[in-house]
């Protein structure tokens, strides 16, 4: 008997949940997600064509930013839908198996691990907070035209000093912000500064952090972040979320820094 055509693309692992995912929900490659139950855990899976998701075509596709973006958004659509009805343990992009049995073997091997992590994450979501310094062009206009060389040097020194002061203050603010938010969260992760070339966002990224917060505490957490925006002169605070706990799916030590 031939295996069911197509490969298996896995989005997340969850405990069984009551609610049905909406019928129009489509995942990667337009394939709707289904549930694969194994020993009391559930993998959320789409059947995807081998022509796109076998190793070689997949590698090529992942080099294509348009394909990657579309696939990432479709993937996230499924995770978002899951996050409204349960606490999914999210997988990274493009975790693909040959067939159902491949998925089951994996779930069997990782069962204890998954249960432990699901317990830890149950009822929690991730909030992302980024702090940006406003770019220097927006700083105060230059002093009047210098009357002499000495004058010019003095103005330049003052500007450098001013810039360094602002920089120091911004870094201090970032530290304090992270401390305040960490106290209100169950766990936190500091990520490397975000890639400006990819984000196209102006100004230096001073803080790029993730916070694990219980759903019940999230409204308060969001309000706290909002209040910090008033204190952030010459800087921007950006909040994203709620996310499934991407940054907390692995223990802190085990993830190598990218």
């Amino acid at each position: 008997m031939t295996a069911q055509a197509g490969l298996r693309y896995v989005y997340a692992v969850c405990r069984p949940f009551e609610a049905a995912l909406q019928s129009q929900l489509t995942g990667v490659a337009g394939a709707p997600p289904g549930l694969l139950r194994h020993h009391g855990l559930v993998a959320v899976v789409s059947k995807v064509p081998e022509g796109d998701f076998a190793e070689e075509p997949l590698r090529d596709h992942l080099e294509d930013l348009d394909w990657l973006a579309a696939t990432a958004r479709a993937h996230q659509g499924v995770i978002d839908a899951l996050t409204t009805v349960t606490t999914p343990l999210p997988l990274g992009l493009a975790t693909v198996f040959r067939d159902d049995s491949g998925v089951r073997v994996m779930m069997e091997a990782r069962e204890a691990d998954f249960r432990h992590t699901l317990d830890r994450l149950e009822g929690r979501v991730e909030w992302g907070v980024k702090l940006y310094a406003d770019p220097p062009e927006q700083e105060s206009p230059p002093a009047g035209k210098p009357a002499s060389g000495r004058d010019y040097l003095r103005q330049r020194r003052n500007r450098t000093h001013e810039y360094e002061e602002k920089r120091r203050a911004a870094e201090e603010f970032a530290r304090t912000l992270h401390e305040r938010l960490s106290r209100r969260a169950e766990d936190s992760r500091l990520h490397p500064p975000q890639n400006a070339a990819l984000s196209g966002v102006p100004g230096q990224n001073l803080l790029n952090a993730a916070y694990l917060v219980a759903r019940a505490d999230s409204e308060e957490f969001v309000e706290l972040v909002d209040r910090t925006k008033d204190e952030a002169t010459g800087m921007r605070v950006e909040l994203t979320g709620p996310w499934a706990a991407y940054s907390f799916s692995e223990p802190a030590q085990s993830r190598e820094s990218p």
């Binding site: 997988l91 990274g92 992009l93 493009a94 490397p192 890639n195 979320g241 709620p242 990218p258």
Partner: protein, 43 residues
């Protein structure tokens, strides 16, 4: 459940999580996914 500003999630925020986050599982199809940072350098 509070949901913040329903503007579209920035691609870079999404890729940071999908490429560098989530539980690490080795599938049958084995690939090393380029990090978001590497993608940025190529873009």
């Amino acid at each position: 459940m509070t949901v913040v500003e329903r503007r579209e999630v920035a691609l870079v925020d999404l890729l940071d999580r999908l490429l560098a986050g989530g539980v690490v599982i080795t599938g049958d199809i084995t690939l090393r996914i380029a990090s978001a940072r590497t993608l940025g350098e190529q873009a």
